[in-house]
Subunit: 367 residues, 2 copies
């Protein structure tokens, strides 16, 4: 991947090398709980970094069948215990039903292994505390697949640009994460509040992680939050809209909006954006597509600073170094990819937002 | 102006006729208080509709000089009383210091004339009540120059599209109104809270007016609001950031963000947007320019519905019918352009947001 040179000659994105950072056998992983499709890219990214995928486990035969099609060499085991018993396994990747992810985290850590989990890693603040305590007690690590930044070159480039001082200090992060519900029925747990954790607690975690990252905050306070169900009366516990405002310890501000209202005619699953308002400039990342512009891909970064306005196509520019860095952190017990506290704080704050949220009434239908 | 036909043949914008709706002398107006430059477009738009501009008054000679350059035929008077005394004058246009606009409104109405005022029309809720009472008592009318919609074809087209059911019910209006502070010093009143009314009370009025309009709400509740001064410590009472969340009586949601941080390199004064999230589609209006796209003008409307994604250049499509309709409302005492209650409610709600706003601390500078 080439480094990106802007028109004025400055370089924002470091040249990325081959993601492979370990030799075969140096880092052995396993997959357990395949409820969310993210498990595929989680494993693929680590395999690209040199990890060896040894085992898979799930209680749903059809999930195993699909997984083995993609990773034919993987050994299917009849219980997660087989994975936890094998001293060779260093990391367990999991994408189970959200409210079951923390329990598995604790079991994995008590078995002396690290844990890589799909977002959101927890659905209650008690689970956050329990995982924090377990990390402290066992010395093990948890990473979370906050893919809307970690697996997104446009968002990564925006981070490098902020780092380079391109827009001054970040005053506000405005993030929107629309999602398509889809024509096919979603699993039952997807609509049960206790299991999926609420819209802010679930997909809101991406947004809070980005807020903490772009504004360089270790902590923040939720100022307001709201959730509602505007189009799915058949699922009374489902929330198809949520938003929140927050302020970081350093005074930087956040607004995040989540919804399950991606229009049928949109060519991708989301018109997700992140808009950074800085003291000297702005950056907008049009994440997965450029609305109304089928000629353009996702990962387009639009920005203005003191000198002018620019557009950068971030595809192929930054790569996705998180996963290789995570492997090295696991082996060296460093925290270069992401600190444990950052990982947990994003999970904690989105659950606080969910807890504080007012439920907005909707009666447009009654007109 | 031609009507706009979308690719699928549907027509969103009605064909607009010549804005002139009255003959010379049928509608006579005057201008008083020239503190904000909006007074020029306010007068120009009404003149295009057929109004005759008879008088101008202001206590600043340089303001009068500039105004007369633009409208050489206008009669300069030495007191606003000359205007109020002349029975021929039907409407007074004013763009004074915000906290003085309501007093003039009451004087104008008690003199038996209507009033067209720059946004925001009031700076306190007491002023809103006083004007409401005066309208009731005198039977006179007040209109407000909410130009970010009324004088903006992209926003008007978005309204026609919502009216046509293009995106279903509007769930949320997300409006951002960045402004450039500018290199030249702003007048003193611009930085004194009592005089300009706070960032939400001032430029927030545009956003609330749009929220009420796009969501078809008569009233709304402010759920949260915040203001801050991030870059102008030399003006302790100035606010360069403000945002708020609100919910309308019908359950539709709003988020509005205002700031004075337009980057120096941006080619226009604002990257203002409005993004409508509907049950069946989305509409984004990139109001004054298209960030990073100097090849595109403002008034570009991007949207997606159940059928696909589209882009419409709204320039020349809708015209700006408000001003002609306002003249006809004045002559016929109808409320087609905008109801009095809508005009006042937008002013009231932005002041409620300002009153409720938490002041966010900013210490990024202290890093």
């Amino acid at each position: 991947m080439a480094e990106y040179k802007l028109t004025d000659g400055r370089i924002y994105a470091p040249a990325k090398k081959d993601p492979k950072v370990v030799e075969p056998g140096e880092y052995v992983i396993a997959a357990a709980d395949l409820d969310h499709g993210h498990i595929y890219s989680m494993c693929e990214k680590l395999i690209a970094g040199g990890a060896v995928l040894k085992y898979v486990w799930d209680d749903k035969p059809e999930a195993i069948e699909a997984f083995v099609k993609r990773f034919p060499y993987v050994t299917v085991v009849d219980s997660v215990d087989r994975i936890l018993e094998d001293p060779e396994v260093q990391l367990v990747c999991a994408a189970g039903i959200p409210n079951e992810r923390a329990d598995l985290c604790i079991r994995v850590m008590e078995a002396g292994k690290d844990y890589f989990v799909d977002k959101a890693p927890m659905t209650t603040l008690a689970q956050v505390d329990a995982v924090r305590e377990t990390i402290k007690r066992t010395g093990r690590r948890m990473w979370c697949y906050y893919c809307e930044r970690l697996n997104h070159e446009g968002s990564l480039l925006a981070g490098y640009m902020v780092e380079a001082g391109e827009i001054g200090d970040v005053i506000q992060v405005l993030g929107t994460g629309g999602h398509r519900y889809g024509a096919n029925p979603r699993p039952e747990w997807f609509h049960i509040h206790e299991q999926y954790g609420g819209i802010l607690g679930d997909i809101g975690s991406h947004q809070i992680e980005q807020f903490l990252y772009f504004t360089k905050n270790k902590d923040a306070k939720i100022l307001s939050a709201r959730v509602g169900n505007y189009s799915y009366p058949q699922y009374p516990e489902f929330e198809d809209f949520g938003d929140a405002t927050l302020v970081g310890d350093n005074g930087a501000l956040g607004y995040l909006r989540l919804d399950w209202h991606t229009p049928d005619g949109l060519r991708t699953w989301s018109d997700g954006r992140v808009y950074l308002l800085g003291t000297k400039g702005v950056i907008e990342v049009r994440k997965y597509e450029d609305l109304g512009r089928p000629d353009l891909p996702g990962n387009m970064v639009y920005f203005a600073n003191e000198k002018g306005e620019y557009v950068i196509d971030a595809n192929g520019v930054t790569g996705t170094p998180f996963f290789s860095e995570m492997i090295l952190d696991a082996l060296n017990r460093t925290e270069n990819a992401m600190t444990q506290e950052h990982t947990l704080k994003a999970a904690e704050l989105c659950l606080k937002a969910q807890e504080q949220a007012v439920h907005v009434q909707y009666d447009l239908m009654k007109k």
